[in-house]
Symmetry: C2
Subunit: 255 residues, 2 copies
């Protein structure tokens, strides 16, 4: 590998063959030397899960002129095993995605794509998760890949604050309709769950998790607002979950 | 059920038969009407994973004089299905644990126990995750159950700030050695991963995820400090991951 180009670790949660990661690999090859370590199957909704009760496998996959690495574990497992077993040195950048589907607002919590980026931040690597607001396997990643390049270059130039990574979402509209990039906060929102109850051929109940997304936030400084108004949303995202403002009040409790 | 007692949802990540959740059930029965919905098998390290690519099952389990509910999914699935399919109304309190092993500092991110509590907070339920700093199945939960009762009563009395739950860890020492309860912040820390590489009987490599915990924080206001000094640690924990202080600086980037 060249010693002058940045070393970029690429992962995702949709699996190593997903169109989203292929678009990201192409975009990152224009910027640096890439190493791909991604799940061997879809791992959506895995959050920050790690594999501790079973074992992991690694397989080499040759595609796009690269020897890539498929891992049997979660997105966070991929980051950890890449650092310990695959990368020649700590990478200059970690990018995750491009996810098929939005990871804005509360979805950051459930997202394997973003958990990989958060794990990168924990490890001290400048890290970005990219998601396109379109779940389809046929989605057009042109605009998303364009902004992935711009934002990745900015992170390489500026670095990232300690303990912070970026949650980038791209609206599902053509490049010329996108108005620009907005740095914003995570919108307050939730999923109102609606389990779909069915019966198997033996008469026993089973359930599919489904839900309705509820935006509880009317602010115009949120990622939801940005996306609804055709901006790319960039939320600086941290793994210090302490609610610092609550500490003072709670010190009055009698415990 | 009585209408005057608080309704308490209990879950965990070690599974519905783990000694830790049994101790928590006993402690909560003294305070309110309990409903138990917990994983049917160990789900440690599942973080905020949800089950979207497969189906869920629910089974009734009769133990400790209760009809409880075992779920085939993750801790977060348990909270979601309890709300939609099992509970008669929104509960007054959600408690998760008592986990076999610490969930202090960065472990909050990987913890199924804490993700169940965070999911409760997202749903607007006052929620607490409890963890004992001892991984053993034989651990003594006496002190942990004692403090679970005290802290649960405090949360029922005071309520919780919007968007916040509690991460409570109990040191593994007898009750009379514990010096009290400290409200603190999440210590900056990480796991330095060390994959244990082995070969299967067919000569193919596989890996176990292991690691060394590294405390990067010398503050005396952290959960790690509290636990090392025989205090129960209580960290108010939020699901707004926005790094608010980073927003201003990033607005200067050229994107």
């Amino acid at each position: 590998m060249s010693t002058t180009k940045p070393l970029i670790l690429i992962t995702n949660d949709d699996g190593i063959t997903a169109p989203g990661i292929r678009a990201l690999v192409t975009a990152m090859k224009a910027i640096g030397d890439v190493v791909v370590v991604a799940p061997d199957k879809p791992q959506s909704g895995m959050g920050h899960a790690i594999t501790i009760n079973s074992t992991l496998r690694l397989y080499e996959v040759k595609q796009d002129g690269l020897t890539e690495h498929a891992c049997s574990g979660t997105p966070v497992d991929c980051v950890k095993i890449a650092i310990d077993k695959i990368l020649p040195r700590k990478p200059d950048l970690l990018v995750s995605g491009i996810n098929h589907g939005a990871n804005s607002s509360i979805n950051v919590i459930y997202s394997g794509t973003m958990s990989a980026a958060v794990e990168g931040a924990i490890e001290g690597i400048p890290s970005i998760g990219f998601s396109l607001c379109n779940y389809s396997i046929e989605a057009d990643f042109t605009a998303a890949a364009h902004f992935a390049g711009i934002i990745a270059k900015n992170v390489l130039d500026h670095g990232m604050p300690d303990g912070v990574c970026l949650n980038v979402n791209i609206p599902d509209v053509p490049l010329d309709i996108i108005k620009g990039v907005k740095v914003c906060r995570q919108a307050k929102s939730m999923w109102h769950e609606e389990f779909d109850e069915r019966k198997d051929p033996y008469g026993r109940k089973y359930y599919w998790l489904t839900g309705k997304f509820v935006n509880l936030d009317s602010g115009d400084d949120t990622d939801q607002w940005a996306l609804e108004n055709n901006y790319v949303s960039v939320v600086p995202t941290q793994f210090d979950l302490t609610a610092h403002t609550a500490i003072k009040d709670m010190k009055k409790w009698e415990m």
